[in-house]
Amino acid sequence: MSKWKIHTPEGVQDILFDECALKRNIEEKLRGLYRSYGYFEVETPTIEFYDVFSSDTGIIPQETMFKFFDQQGRILVLRPDITVPVARISASKYREMPYPMRFSYIGNVFRYNDYGGGKQNEFTQAGVEVLGVSTSEADAEVIAIAINALITAGLEDFKLDIGQVEFFNGLMDETKLTEEEMDRLKVMIDRKDYVGLEELLDKYDIRADLKKLITDLPALFGSADVIERVEALALNKRSLDALENIRQVLNILDDYGLGRYVSVDLGMLKGLNYDTGIIFRGFTYGIGFPILTGGRYDRLVEEFGRQCPATGFSMGVNLIMMALQRQKADIEKPCIDSIVCYSQKGRKTAFELCGELRRQGLLIELDLSGGDVEALKKYAARKGVGGVINVSDEETIEVHNIATGEINRTSIRELTKGC
């Protein structure tokens, strides 16, 4: 046998019966939820041109993408994200569509060893995007959907942190730092690396009160009073606007009745390279990674030739599954209700019976190996099937209850009537 024949590459997984059922179940619920908010689903290609995701601003770092070539030698990638393809669609195929445009999607994305996917190379994202509105109402709507998505998926104990990248950008306006120096600061703040941050700030020439605020930034998270604390300081309009934006979003979420799920983190800066306003992340117990990320990206769509503000989020479905399993939530497992076997004479009746039971929503397996009832009962017991139904003819049907060992004799008429 070839060396790798029975293996799967690193970072990808087979999803087997129970898990797959759970996953589809979550996906269906999310699909329904997104649709109920007016976000219709789109499906974008798994393969895209590299150019879609690359730009001077580095939308997505090239070293995280799976790349290959088409027959003309052009560089292709396995989509590392679905937000960017949605932006592409909105600026091309839907460029005549009136605002706001609402999209949803559920699909697999591919990235090398990505933090967002919980260190998997292939994972499923389920998300929404709303384009064409820059209001706090839009920010709040996607956050409200995100919270309801987590509830719908079955999580109870989770938190959503809200930040605003413009707050930091406003602070930076007051300094004369270069892009590179700002990036270095951002990394330190995002890592809550107090030591490194202080060392770095000592090297920079920044106003003393600003320096103090930037040093405190990693600790500026918690309830809404964080905003009031900071607002009292001397800030420029850009930073104040950012704080006002967060406050409005929090107020709107209070009216949604979802205020208790959210908190503020002004030190949350590094989401995606295309973030421009409110950003947020979701957390729960048992998972060391954020289970959802989202935020505003007002300058992404213009990369595709159309000026358009936008915001959205995506949820890591695999991480949600992991969280549910670790939190030992009640997880429905797919289970066969009955196995039907028959003798030659009862075949037609057996098929009729199967059809009727399936119509009623039961999961029915048909015996394919010749109707040895004893063997079937053993098989049923092992597989956790409730019953074995042996159809000899129209009038002679035996129903074996596997758990109790009881046998009921009945006919097709009674059986289909009684159900």
Partner: protein, 216 residues
């Protein structure tokens, strides 16, 4: 009950860390009394802790298998994981340096094709990439890195230096300091939010001890 889990680096760092935890009221008797156990529990405070190889601490914390970790800055730099690095404990202090034969001093820029031997390939690569803007060949070793320039395996080394004695005895000099190293407290990005009360209790407790030690 939700436990707070702490990952400690085996060795000297563990002894120091455990002393600090004990001083702030964490019950470490299970650790003191048993050498076979892998995980030690303080039921009263709902805290668990375990000891792993220093280089593995950031991994446990990134994945959330531990909420908090205590590890050297060297392993944090080398592992480059997504963590919050919240506190400098100050102990186990040393320097990460670029070193080489004395005759290279001031002539580093004239040396084409640099080969760098190190236990820390990532730190070496990033230092040359960002600070010196040069491409290098990294030769990964697992110990006795000072030997490499002496036997012609490499021109330079990147390594931890405490007193500088070993370098000196082998005719090597520090060419540049890459980073100051000491023990740090790291926290998982989710735990800091989901278990903030307990995480803060630990961090504030450690901070207080550092303050007290400084005032002595």
């Amino acid at each position: 009950m939700k436990y707070l889990t702490i990952a400690l680096s085996k060795g000297r760092l563990a002894d120091l860390s455990i002393e600090m935890l004990e001083d702030m009221g964490v019950d470490c008797s299970e650790y003191r009394n048993s050498s076979r156990k892998l995980i030690f529990t303080d039921e009263k405070n709902s805290i668990k802790f375990f000891l792993v190889k220093p280089a593995d601490v950031p991994t446990y914390v990134e994945y959330g298998a531990a909420d908090i970790g205590i590890a050297g800055k060297d392993t944090l730099l080398e592992e480059g994981r997504h963590l919050y690095e919240v506190l400098n404990l100050g102990f186990a202090a040393c320097k990460m340096v670029l070193a080489g034969p004395a005759e290279l001093q001031g002539k580093l820029d004239h040396l084409n094709n640099k080969r760098v031997a190190t236990k820390y390939p990532k730190i070496a690569r990033e230092y040359f990439e960002h600070k010196r803007r040069e491409s290098i060949e990294v030769i990964k070793l697992n110990g006795s890195v000072e030997l490499a320039p002496l036997v012609g395996l490499s021109e330079l080394i990147v390594d931890l230096v405490e007193s500088g004695r070993t370098l000196k005895d082998n005719g090597l000099v520090v060419l540049d300091t890459i980073a100051e190293i000491s023990a740090r407290v790291v926290v998982n990005r989710v735990s800091i939010k989901m278990k903030s009360d307990k995480v803060n209790w630990i961090i504030e407790g450690l901070k207080k001890q550092l303050e007290a030690a400084r005032q002595k």
